[in-house]
Amino acid sequence: MKKILHILRRESAQAKPYWEDFSYETADEGATVATALASTPVVWEHSCLQRRCGACAMVINRIPALACNTRLSEIASDVIRLEPLRKFPVIEDLLVDRSVMMQNLRRLSVWMEEEARTGSEEMAFEAARCLQCGLCLEVCPNFAAGGTFAGMAAMAPMSRLIARLSEGERKRIARDYKKGVYSGCGKSLACRDICPAQLPIEDLLVKSNAAAVWNRWKGVMKQN
């Protein structure tokens, strides 16, 4: 199997971007875009190489995806076009600065101040699987860095809290949830289809909205 990696590179944020091609040949059916990238001098973020850390998010043939989760054998074209995520400032080549995601979580006070209650383990588990990769933000029609809407990358960690927070903290999280998630979400659900962790986004959203927006905490708490 032979592929051409057609990569949008740039030396720095200020530098002019340019396209560069690298050819990659392998007999390994399991080889991914990450495997191919590792053979190039291109700068990109990587860590676990098994869909567990979210580092290698980028745009692959115009579709945002994790490089480690995209097998070369599943790409029909001989040329694979690689670009950095567009919603975040580019640092170098395919490396982008996703700090805005951390800033949003701080802004929305995504933490517990009291001891967690037990129950809703399944909801907390699913929510906590979020990789903070940013792919959901990349495809979201409502998210822009610097805006008040923090997207599903904030919804997931907040729904972990909604599942486990003690009663005393509900008001606080409800206020921030409405401000950072509910009021900005246009419900296109593009995030649901793109999520590499396949989070049950619709389910988490419905439960979190019911609790934090409509004050139906009891119903959420009963479900697992």
């Binding site: 001098p41 850390c53 170098e92 996703r98 701080r106 001891e115 599942a163």
Partner: protein, 591 residues
């Protein structure tokens, strides 16, 4: 600059501590400091979500005694010591196992969704332990612990007590008359070097980079930090003890771990009677012409054969010389649905095998480094002002780590190190923000590395980013040499041959300063394995198959003027407990 592009919130009049690494050990240490009002700088190559701790699967050990098996802290202590072939400091293991129940309860209160039935926490079986002692969240326990601790630390980020440097690479320690007085880091985004003053806690994980593509860990743990530390005179210990996890599968670019939880929940390992030695790994169905299935571990070790410690099982598999399969077809539908759904999905995704119906071909792969930075019971290194915790430290696991003890060791080690840094007076912990003269903190931006000439700073820049093809090739060769020398079964001949190849590589290649240090660290591994003329735990010498009671000591590696020196150091005896409890456990020894 720290994240947000602002200046360090910790100005000249505050006291701060530097933590290198934002995985479980680093986060646990950070929490410990901020609760005492000490400011923390949390330095990591990537944000916490990318740390290897997120990959930890099966669970965390603590003698909670919730399974009606009369489990005790003493048994957790004894299992850990025995699993580690009596090579861990028993005082440290006692500290660890005594703290475990409290730590798991704390994690529970942070909202970690531990598995519960009728509201009661449930624990599972794990290797090398006779009691159900491993608390878990399906097969994603590390990820769940990390999510909870990331949120917990975030609260203190917002309060200004924790400043994150989340895209910063460790460059080197700042040394002053034999003491560590700070750390130089590099902002990968802005390409500037920053010097941070104050004591340093290393929590930088395992040394996967030396075995690139051959471990279950992350690519971000390059071992560059450890190579630098060794060159700067930090002592290491027990490098020969490399954990080969029995159930891994080679996938592109790395080894995929199949959690020990699979066997804890009833999985069995077998080989076929007539299958030729080491065939190509592939899918399989029923026995057929390969003859009957031999459950060789159960035959040799009885009922609990599949849950022997990892070193034992991996050694048996290598000695067997046949393809081994993991049989998970006997697990109940409920187990798959409730306890291991994530594992089933992962095996299917990467191997195209449904483990509920088909056998999974597995083989031992590098999973954990028992050895690392030498620390004492208080997590101090040989240099004052420097501490280490988590996988990068040689602490609790002796010659072989038990499954479920790494998450525990990381959380406990981070906390213990932070407590001893405060107790040692490396910083003023009065919460007033006033500086003790010694601990004064100042951030100074050094000139851009690119502009610095004559000291090799320019080339340091590109060592993990856009490093050249040649450098990658040399790293690949180092891996190849180490895989030969540090194979599960070793002898003098293979180790000396590997050393020779490493020397030849060093002479032949135009290696950068960083790569030369990496080769030195690789050399330290081989020399440690050569020096230990016995078989113990994860270290099996074909030419010295017996365990030598005289070598119940730690291997110590030190480096001066580019020369590695290996020595052995006595392991401290178990002290009587100050509160009157002995090792055998008085009142305080029970959960």
């Amino acid at each position: 600059m720290p994240e947000d592009g602002g200046t360090d919130a910790m100005n000249q009049n505050t006291v701060a501590v530097n933590i290198v690494g934002a995985g479980l050990a680093g986060l646990s240490a950070a929490m410990t400091f901020v609760r005492e009002g000490v400011r923390v700088r949390l330095i990591s190559f990537q944000p916490s979500e990318r740390a290897q701790s997120n990959l930890a699967e099966g669970g965390i050990n603590a003698a909670l005694n919730v399974m009606g098996e009369q489990d005790t802290i003493r048994e957790h202590f004894l299992d850990t010591m025995k699993g580690g072939c009596e090579l861990a400091d028993p005082n440290m293991v006692r500290n660890l196992t005594q703290a475990a129940p409290g730590l798991v309860k704390e994690m529970d209160l942070l909202g970690v969704p531990f598995h519960r039935e009728q509201g009661r926490m449930i624990q599972r079986n794990f290797g090398g332990q006779k009691k159900k002692r491993t608390a878990y969240a399906k097969s994603s326990t590390g990820k769940m612990l990390m999510a909870a601790l990331i949120d917990a630390v975030r609260r203190y980020e917002a309060a200004g007590l924790v400043t994150r440097y989340p895209h910063h690479r460790f460059e080197r320690l700042v040394l002053d008359r034999g003491a560590v007085t700070g750390v130089v880091i590099c902002d990968r985004f802005r390409k500037e070097q920053i010097r941070l003053d104050g004591a340093v806690l290393m929590a930088c994980g395992g040394m996967n980079g030396l075995f690139a593509g051959e471990t279950t860990g992350t690519t971000a743990n390059t071992a560059d930090a450890q190579a630098e530390l060794l060159a700067q005179g930090i002592e290491f210990s027990n490098l020969e003890f490399l954990q080969y996890h029995p159930t891994t599968v080679s996938i592109t670019g790395k080894r995929l771990l199949i959690s020990e939880a699979a066997r804890g929940e009833g999985g069995r390992l077998f080989c076929y009677e007539k299958e030729p030695d080491m065939p190509e790994a592939g899918k399989t169905g029923a026995g057929g012409e390969r003859g009957r299935r031999i459950y060789f571990l159960e035959d040799k070790y009885g009922e609990r054969g599949n849950l022997m410690p990892r070193d034992v099982i991996s050694r048996e598999m290598v000695l067997l010389g046949k393809q081994v399969y993991l049989d998970l077809t006997g697990l109940s539908r409920e187990t798959w649905a409730v306890r291991l759904s994530d594992l089933r999905e992962e095996i299917f995704h990467y191997l195209g095998i449904d483990p509920a119906r088909e056998y999974v071909p597995v083989s031992p792969g590098i999973h954990y480094f028992m050895g690392g930075i030498l620390v004492d019971e208080q997590h101090r290194t040989n240099l004052s002002g420097l501490y280490a915790a988590g996988e990068c430290a040689c602490a609790y696991h002796g010659a072989n780590r038990l499954g479920g003890n790494s998450l525990l060791g990381a959380i406990f080690g981070g906390r213990k190190a932070a407590l001893s840094m405060m107790a040692d007076g490396r910083l003023a912990a009065d919460g007033s923000g006033e500086a003790a003269a010694e601990g004064r903190t100042r951030v100074q931006e050094l000139p851009e590395a690119g502009a610095v000439t004559g000291e090799g700073n320019g080339e340091e820049y590109h060592r993990t980013g856009a490093e050249g093809k040649e450098e990658n090739q040399i790293r690949g060769k180092i891996t190849q040499i180490l895989m030969e020398g540090m194979a599960p079964l070793r002898d003098q001949r293979t180790l000396e041959s590997a050393l020779k190849k490493l020397d030849a590589l060093a002479e032949a290649s135009e290696a950068s300063a960083c790569l030369k240090q990496t080769m030195l660290l690789a050399r330290a591994f081989l020399l440690s394995a050569l020096a230990r003329r016995e078989s113990r735990g994860a270290h099996t010498r074909l030419d010295y198959p017996e365990t030598d009671a005289d070598l119940q000591k730690n291997t110590v590696v030190s480096c001066a003027d580019g020369q590695i020196r290996i020595s052995f150091r006595q392991i401290p005896a178990l002290r009587p407990q100050t509160d009157g409890n002995s090792k055998s456990g008085g009142k305080g020894d029970r959960p």
